[in-house]
């Protein structure tokens, strides 16, 4: 006997709406609305270099989002295997900004507490130096050997500028997001 299909009876648009709302703080809302029209054609997964080597299936995430399966989507570790190469976004026949939506869904994952330790560490480094990849002694020496300024003319060399950046990320709530997810 063939297995019976699992029927989802409590479909809601809440999560789909939340994703579109959240993304429209930055991206044009009318483009994000196209997510509602994903027809599961699979061109995205067929184009996906990550899908060749990981269990990341962008189409599955989109279907689950349409079905309101918030926890399933946000807790899926594969969500973090997309390199944001945009190949699927270029090819989507419905014009869905697929890769942008991956970032929007990740924002929600982080908001609800799903963040990798390594990623939290990058946030902490940024909150300390204003760079995701800061200078170190070895590289200072290389820079000097090359005849470049030992410390680059970035926030590294301008403490007042670093203060500006830190003030900004406090204003945007980023500091709180990182602190909240630090357990």
């Amino acid at each position: 006997m063939a297995p019976r299909a699992y029927v989802i009876r409590n479909v809601t648009f809440d999560f789909l709406n939340e994703a579109i709302e959240n993304g429209s703080k930055v991206f044009p809302k009318e483009e994000l609305e196209r997510l509602r029209m994903c027809m599961q054609c699979g061109k995205c997964v067929g184009s996906c270099p990550s899908g060749r080597i990981t269990a990341w299936r962008i189409r599955k995430i989109f279907r689950e989002t349409q079905l309101g399966l918030k926890e399933t989507v946000l807790s899926d570790d594969n969500l973090w295997n997309c390199t944001t190469c945009y190949t699927c976004q270029e090819r989507c026949p419905r014009g869905i900004p697929t890769t942008d939506i991956v970032r929007i869904i990740r924002n929600l994952a982080v908001k609800y507490g799903y963040i990798k330790n390594n990623h939290r560490r990058i946030c902490e480094i940024f909150l300390r130096y204003g760079h995701a990849v800061p200078i170190n002694d070895e590289m200072k020496k290389v820079r000097k050997d090359l005849g470049l300024a030992e410390v680059p003319p970035t926030v590294h060399n301008y403490p007042k500028s670093l203060e500006e950046v830190l003030k900004l990320v406090e204003e945007t709530g980023f500091k709180k997001i990182v602190e909240r997810t630090t357990k």
Partner: protein, 293 residues
Amino acid sequence: MNKYAYFLGCITPNRYPGIELATRRVLEEFGIEVLDMKGASCCPAPGVFGSFDLWTWLTVAARNISIAEEMGTDITVTCNGCYATIQEANHLLKQNGEIKEKVNNILKTIGREYKGTIEVKHLVEILHENITYETIQKRIKHPLNGIKVAVHYGCHFLKPSDVRAHGTVERPAMLDDFVIALGAKSVDYKDKTMCCGAGGGVRAGNLDVALDYTRQKIENMVDAGADCLITSCAFCHFQFDTGQIELTEKLGKKYELPVVFMTQLLGLALGMSSEDVSLNKNKTQTQSFTSKL
């Protein structure tokens, strides 16, 4: 425009300063003034910070842009990550007044304003459109005849194409034409437009996955007989150069295809030495390539 604000980002100055050096040297060689953006921060990285909080990503990017606006100069970058962030933030803020106003409300707290008065140009665009390959060709002292180069475009230089507007993303030609202009041959290889694997926070979050991309790309380039690969992105450069050391350790098989940044390759063709363009500071060996020059 004959002067640019050089947005350094993180990887270029803090991990591959040779890219910074070669780029400054080469651009100055063609009469383009390269200006420092004092106090610029991380762009912030599109695939990590953009994945954590897009609002913060956009606001910090707007601050970086405002530095160049004060200087009254367009921005150039040598990293596709920086390009993705700075170019896209500029695009989003220019097209939506409401978002711009909200960002400016936050920037006000640090006494800054995003105006929307400048453009963001990738180094490739400067070489291709400002300087032009024809001009470059006339200045070549040391044509790279017989050298086989595998070009790697990097995703965020070309995509999303509606924002970047550099034409086809399936069969781009800008870097191939660059290599040909220098007298070298651009070899076709399997999955040429595929990602290096580093983006989207994957390098930091899941190094094994990132390295598997890199392995595929490098093996395909080697299969096509490439003497070196060229990048136009510091982060791809980092992934290929440092990544090959990591792959060699992980798999116990030598991965050693020389990784050359496009301005390093150009510097060599202009007659500079491999030390002048700091190829010797790479982690993966470059002798197999430099011995053919």
